[in-house]
Symmetry: D2
Subunit: 147 residues, 4 copies
Amino acid sequence: MHKMTVAAFRALVERDLPLARWLGFSAEAIGEGKATIRLPFRDDLVRPGGTIAGPAMMALADCAMYAAVLGMRGDAIMAVTSNLSIHFLRAPKPVDMVAEAALLRMGRRLAVVEVRLYSAGDGTPVAHIAGTYALPGQAHGANIAVP
Amino acid sequence: MHKMTVAAFRALVERDLPLARWLGFSAEAIGEGKATIRLPFRDDLVRPGGTIAGPAMMALADCAMYAAVLGMRGDAIMAVTSNLSIHFLRAPKPVDMVAEAALLRMGRRLAVVEVRLYSAGDGTPVAHIAGTYALPGQAHGANIAVP
Amino acid sequence: MHKMTVAAFRALVERDLPLARWLGFSAEAIGEGKATIRLPFRDDLVRPGGTIAGPAMMALADCAMYAAVLGMRGDAIMAVTSNLSIHFLRAPKPVDMVAEAALLRMGRRLAVVEVRLYSAGDGTPVAHIAGTYALPGQAHGANIAVP
Amino acid sequence: MHKMTVAAFRALVERDLPLARWLGFSAEAIGEGKATIRLPFRDDLVRPGGTIAGPAMMALADCAMYAAVLGMRGDAIMAVTSNLSIHFLRAPKPVDMVAEAALLRMGRRLAVVEVRLYSAGDGTPVAHIAGTYALPGQAHGANIAVP
């Protein structure tokens, strides 16, 4: 089964994930069930207090989960988030943010993924995320396996 | 303590929440610990499969939680999401989405909020969210009460 | 497909759920995708502060989720919790606690369930839970459909 | 500020946590914001399918979170779970289970803790947990800082 490359994931974002594209997400590394995605800091992603808005962080985490799943099963483009739980740890600094995702469990139907968000530079942890992706059937990659 | 009005919340989005503004969130109703926010459907919010992207839904839920908190404590602009847990129920149709948020508990330091996301029109439930907002001190509305 | 009755669920607890039996869980009502379970107060379920211990509340919620699933699909004895997220709202009083569970979504593979925990008597809400059960295949009720 | 020792935590379980005592939880190590707790396997902790019941696992995780918090702030006996999110990864084998908890963030009011559950012996991961404890005020360790 092919794994997704960084170049292929970037093309996927460019073509099929307009929200991730608008947010500027940049895939830095994708391995077998692992992914690193960067959110370049921008003034229009802040919220009152001058920190990066929570929804931008949740979007970054979700994108990294998706990339980690595709890093294991490159055909699972139709995988969808089934649930996601995020704990915010600190107000992030106004700098780039990095997401590191890793599979905790790859099942036939469900993948459980963990993500850690850091402020780039000093590497301060800013959020922890765990979630589940529902996977499409292996023989029918084009069907959505929604719960 | 003043409560936030729909008009005041719209102005807040316009001025201080650029991501919510870009996503087109529109406050429809804000009451004491309650809020209804609409996400107008747009082609650039979809993901593979043609459904609204999960991160847009998480952002909508977070915005509704924030509005519900401000509907109870209009001074708590600096309230921040402490945690959020979302369960996706169905792939949403390519139509407007509506978030209805209601406080489960308003404490002195923490507010727990529940949100239901529906597809507009037929009202199909598409996601359920529960989360916590950390509140700024009442006497010092300008400080961030991050955990 | 048969639905599970209160009597059948009580027998299941008695025979196959020793922890729920020890905790004294008592099924009060089971409907199509709904269930009400009571935890009779006991001194040995408290924690420092004199309130009911959080794990007893999580166990109660999980039991109610399971009963709600079986209320819809009585054959799904092998259904297992896939994830669970709980928000505690208030320290519960030293009285009976009641769980009311309702399905948010019944899929072929996954059921998403919401539970509200109340203090009996005055009905004060003490916790909110949302979670997912993984369902066994309909034709092979005896297989565990773990993720 | 004193940290809690393994011996002191065991005495606390014995005296004040009857549910943890009944479940047989045994503290193996407690450090600064870290804790390892063991659940010895017992026949009366299983559920249909012969695996350890989910609620016993949630209770184990919560106990480990509590011990990790006390490992950092030994006076915070009145700390209470504010929220907890668990993802089950695999049906655990009928052997001892071990919880390893570590603080992700220790704030003044809230502590965010992560827990991994393993089957003893081969170390297979069986669940991942993240949650928040609300801390009592430092000067008034006897007050419950419930949200």
